[in-house]
Amino acid sequence: MNGLSFDIAHLLAGGLVLVSFMLLYQARMYALLNLFALHAVVLSLSVAWQALIQGAPHLYVTAAIALGFKGLVIPLALHRIVQRLHIHRAIEPVVGIGLTMLAGMGLVALSIGVVLPVTAEAGSLAREDLAFSMAVILLGMLMMVSRHNAVSQVVGFMSLENGLILAATGANGMPLVVEISVAFSILIAFIVIGIFLFRIRERFDTVDLHALDTFRGERR
């Protein structure tokens, strides 16, 4: 694999991490959704690049899914939810943004530290990709646990899943990648639908998980 293609792949993966950070940083709902669209686009670019350099045409499908489904459909759907459910614009984080960013830094460091001992023969690109995708995943989870608001939690989950796709495509010749990406798209669809017109709205007038959690398992 020549240097240039490696650098580009590296660049794209790094870009994904960067966007994840921006997601973490973002405090306004609509901007968050737009950023997520950007996240998806960057992912699809990186996947497409992988398809190119690996010469694995089926990955283009994954790229297309990422672009179309997560770059367009989902953000739009979420836009409508936000409008429909009159979610107030600001997103209240659990801890301060700054602290969250700091934690994010720590997570990136952790993911690199974990991957470092992996011997190079696993393929340096794979190794870097692993580090980046793990960073994206951890950041996604961080977002899920550091936001009170259901929509932003969903966004967090989706960015997490983008990290998965990144890792999967980064692994040369991994079978079932397309199937997996499809399966995940379905999963996300379920979640979004669940939030949107399925039970949630029908029963609670807000998707803030506080309402969803009024029932905390067993009644005392």
Binding site: V94, L107, L110, S111, G113, V114, L116, P117, L138, M141, L142, M144, V145, R147, H148, Q153, L209, H210, L212, D213, R216, G217, E218, R220
Partner: protein, 670 residues
């Protein structure tokens, strides 16, 4: 051969339990089942007795393709298990006989009959097991079936709690034994007792094993402070079951201790005996003190079981000490005393529980404060109960005294011991033993006197009637046996010789050959006891007295109201009650042991209220140990229970935290 036969009999017990429900549809169903268990236990008794009296050279062994797959179920019949089999199956037989009559009064036979034979089978199986899995399986099976029997009258107040405490303690004991066996078996899992005998753990581990064994078997036998379940569970069960649990099952538990401490463990440490002796002494005295404070007849008897377990433990502890110091003969003496007492206690404790059951059926009362004067209405029951009381109070020439005398002899040879702490400990234990014996006498004066003597305190007591002939046969038979065993202890001692030979490599000199069947444990000049001669002597002098009196003294008898220092009061409430009888002892010992307090609520002058005496006793073991543990568990449960009520986000944070933690571990590991 006889081993296979015994296993078949165990199978017969289990089958009997399984068939009980359909059989109960018949009119005489319960009689049939009890008759069946009587027959089976008699057969087992015969086989075991034959093996004990005419021991073959080597113990019989047998392996079945059951249990742990790569190990199989091992069974073994040696003299030790044979002796305990005799005890168990004799008790089973007598209980079945008693139940032929008593069982007719059972309100819910469907909750008793399926489990009783299974219980008996389980106890037999424990004694035959020769690998850890089979042993514990049978052990716990015994616990479960007896728990079911305790729960037979589940709608009565407090029985569910009794069952809960009982089975929890049983599980605790089983886990302790499980750990002990785990140590004995080692990592590669040599669970067969044969392998355990071969591979001995180091001294440190062996001591751990012994402590665990004491905990495990002690919790089943009712050694203080693990006794708390016993006075709850034994009274809760139907009386014939109480007799089995108190008289028999506790002995099976002690069998476990003997098996581990004398058979599986090879090199005993001298301080093991210290542990056993201390436990035994404390158990015996505390048990009888608790018993003295009771006024529920069956609970009193249950606490006396605790006391007798203590006495047996003292014997076992002495045997351990002598064995550790290589004094074979003395060890044999102590072990003989302990095992002899095992037999005796099974006899008179069954008898006493039968008596309590008879009283219960005749009056519907277990509370001594509401009984009295039963000797007039139930003379035979009273006679049997009197014999049992005299036996358990260790009065010569009955059997209880014979074994306690042997125990005292074992204590008196303790100067042979070289370890100083033991030399100082053993006399103290002896004093405790004497104390508990004397207190037992006091306690049974109370038990018999308040229940059977005096004037009836309630209409129920006044209207009592003698019980059926099966029950009487069982009780009187046991009473006769108490006397016979007391008169001819030499027979039992000689029967125990092979057992001690097998366990401590020595045995008492043969007794049967001596003139007048005198018992001479060590040497003529040292000590000897001849119950038969003593009995004849007393009988002779009594006859002489009676003759003389009736020859020369006046025969005039006048029946009159009691004298009572001139103020006879017809109200039976003026009699001494169980509580007032125990008052002096309560004052002497109770103030320390139970923080006993008496408060008199004296009404104001002119107030027609009667004055009231309030007595408060505290059970420090229960409050400290059991309630303490319960409190801790409750607190932890409350704290953890909060996790049931978190939000999804918090749950996710938990997952996230664990993930980060593991990744950090990974980084740290590199």
């Amino acid at each position: 051969m006889s081993l296979a036969g015994l296993l078949w009999l165990v199978a017969a017990f289990l089958a009997l339990g399984a068939l009980a429900l359909p059989v109960l549809r018949l009119a005489a169903g319960s009689r049939l089942v009890y008759a069946g268990s009587l027959a089976v236990s008699l057969a087992a008794l015969g086989v075991a007795a034959h093996h004990l009296l005419f021991p073959p050279g080597a113990p019989e062994t047998l392996a079945l393709p059951l249990g742990i797959p790569w190990l199989g179920a091992h069974f073994r019949l040696d003299v030790l298990s044979a002796f305990f089999l005799v005890v168990v199956n004799f008790g089973a037989a007598v209980t079945s006989l008693y139940s032929l009559g008593y069982g007719q009064h059972e309100p819910s036979p469907r909750r008793v009959l399926p489990f009783l034979p299974a219980f008996l089978g389980g106890m037999n199986l424990v004694l035959l097991a020769d690998d850890a899995y089979t042993f514990l399986l049978a052990w716990e099976f015994m616990s479960v079936t007896s728990w079911a029997l305790v729960m037979a009258h589940h709608r009565e107040e407090g029985n569910a709690r009794a069952g809960f405490v009982y089975l929890t303690m049983a599980a605790f004991g089983t886990l302790c034994l499980l750990l002990a066996f785990g140590l004995l078996a080692g990592a590669e899992g040599a669970y067969a007792f044969e392998q355990m005998r071969a591979r001995q753990p180091g001294p440190g581990l062996a001591s751990l094993v012994l402590l665990l064994a004491i905990l495990g078997t002690g919790s089943k036998a009712g050694a203080v402070p693990l006794h708390a379940w016993l006075p709850l569970a034994h009274p809760a069960a139907p009386s014939q079951v109480s007799a089995l649990m108190s008289g028999i099952m506790t002995k099976v538990a002690l069998y476990g201790l003997v098996r581990i401490a004398f058979d599986l463990l090879d090199e005993p440490q001298w301080w093991w005996s210290v542990a056993v002796l201390v436990v035994g002494g404390v158990t015996s005295v505390l048990g009888v003190l608790y018993a003295l404070m009771q006024h529920d007849l069956k609970r009193l008897l249950a606490y006396h079981t605790v006391e007798n377990i203590g006495i047996i433990l003292i014997g076992l502890g002495l045997a351990l000490a002598f064995r550790a110091e290589g004094a074979g003969a003395a060890a044999a003496l102590a072990l003989t005393a302990a095992l002899f007492h095992v037999l005796n206690h099974s006899l008179f404790k069954s008898l006493l529980f039968f008596g309590a059951g008879a009283v219960l059926t005749a009056t519907g009362e277990r509370d001594m404060e509401r009984l009295g004067g039963l000797i007039h209405r139930m003379p035979l029951t009273a006679l049997a109960f009197l014999v049992g009381s005299a036996a358990i109070a260790a009065l010569p020439p009955l059997n209880g005294f014979a074994s306690e005398w042997l125990t005292f002899q074992a204590i008196l040879v303790s100067p042979q011991l070289t370890s100083w702490s033991l030399r100082f400990l053993v006399p103290a234990v002896g004093a405790l033993l004497a104390l508990s014996a004397a207190l037992a006498a006091a306690c049974f004066v109370k038990a018999f006197g308040i229940t059977f003597l005096g004037r009836p305190r309630t209409a129920a007591a006044a209207g009592a009637h003698e019980v059926d002939r099966f029950s009487l046969a069982a009780m009187l038979g046991l009473g006769a046996l108490c006397l016979l065993v007391g008169l001819f202890p030499a027979v039992v001692i000689d029967a125990l010789a092979p057992v001690t030979q097998a366990l401590v490599g020595a045995s008492l000199p043969a007794q049967l050959g001596r003139p007048w069947l005198t018992v001479v444990p060590i040497a003529e000049g040292r000590s000897s006891y001849n119950a038969l001669l003593l009995f004849l002597f007393i009988a002779f002098s009594t006859l002489v007295t009676v003759y003389a009196i009736h020859r020369w003294a006046s025969h005039a008898v006048r029946r009159a109201a009691p004298w009572d220092c001139g103020w006879p009061d017809p109200d039976p409430a003026t009699q001494y009650t169980a509580g007032s009888f125990a008052q002096p002892i309560r004052r002497v010992f109770g103030t320390v042991v139970f923080a006993a307090q008496e408060r008199i609520a004296m009404p104001l002058p002119g107030d027609p209220e009667p004055a009231r005496l309030h007595v408060s006793l505290r059970d420090f073991i229960w409050e400290g140990l059991y309630e303490g543990v319960a409190r801790v568990v409750g607190i932890v449960a409350d704290v953890l229970n909060r996790t049931q009520f978190l939000t999804i986000r918090r749950y996710l944070s938990l997952v996230f935290a664990v993930l980060i933690l593991l990744l950090l571990v990974l980084v740290a590991w590199h």
